[in-house]
Amino acid sequence: MLIDAVFFYAFALLTLGGAILTITRRNAVHSAISLIVSLLGVAGLYLLQHAEFLFAVQIVLYVGGIMVLFLFVIMLVNLDQMARERQFNRGWMVGLAAVVAVGVEIGYFFYRGQDSFKLPEVAPPPVSLGNTEVLADVLFGQYLLPFEIASILLLVAVVGSVVMAKKRI
């Protein structure tokens, strides 16, 4: 159990440290690299919770797909003179105060609701199949309609982003 705790805190440090660097760096490329570190930390947390398929998806899709897309766009739009400008907008203090207020509220809920976090222990189901097989069974059985709707959403997003980014259709 100790090794679990060590890994949890390591991945949590990776996640939160990367996230804080992401929102504070001046250079957008540095932000993107920090976001990759943060996403890898989240992937490690998935692995700790025996969600192996999501671990693979997180690395292949987020780190390999979305972040490459982000880096391409950062190179397309010229961010050099943007890096020299003010990085935070004029109302940043209001935004920060609002977030801190919400954070205090969430912390208070955690403190007052300690007892309700004692969830009943559930016996883990007998492990006969791997994580990916189980997910596929549920995804293509019970959740088939949402799956198809998600594919239509992706099609719309592909067409929409081409229409947006192309100069003349």
């Binding site: 949890f8 969600a51 739009v77």
Partner: protein, 102 residues
């Protein structure tokens, strides 16, 4: 040392959500605002997977997959809008795009 329970994951997820919200509310650069939205969606996923693990069911992980699909669609369309915006206005700073502001 306490064993790692769901509460740890919930606290981590709340912290990540708050960091992402700070990024969305305070940064001027639209690219970094989009990255902060990715952080927020990841915080939600941590929550879903934690409860899925505790109850021994896969529904939470399925939901996390759908959240990832939405994040991909949002990033693609958002970056497309950003490129169109940069072509027309030569800026990626959120508070300089104030055409609809009274």
């Amino acid at each position: 040392m306490h064993p790692i329970t769901e509460v740890h994951y919930l606290a981590l997820s709340a912290a990540l959500l708050l960091i992402g919200t700070i990024g969305v509310l305070t940064r001027r650069n639209i690219v970094i605002i989009l990255m902060s939205i990715e952080l927020i969606l990841n915080a939600v996923n941590i929550n879903l997977v934690a409860f899925s693990h505790h109850w021994g069911q896969t529904n939470g992980q399925i939901f996390a997959i759908f959240v990832i699909v939405d994040a991909v669609a949002e990033a693609a369309v958002g970056l497309g809008i950003l490129i169109a915006l940069f072509r027309n206005k030569e800026t990626v700073l959120a508070d300089e795009i104030d055409l609809l502001k009274w």
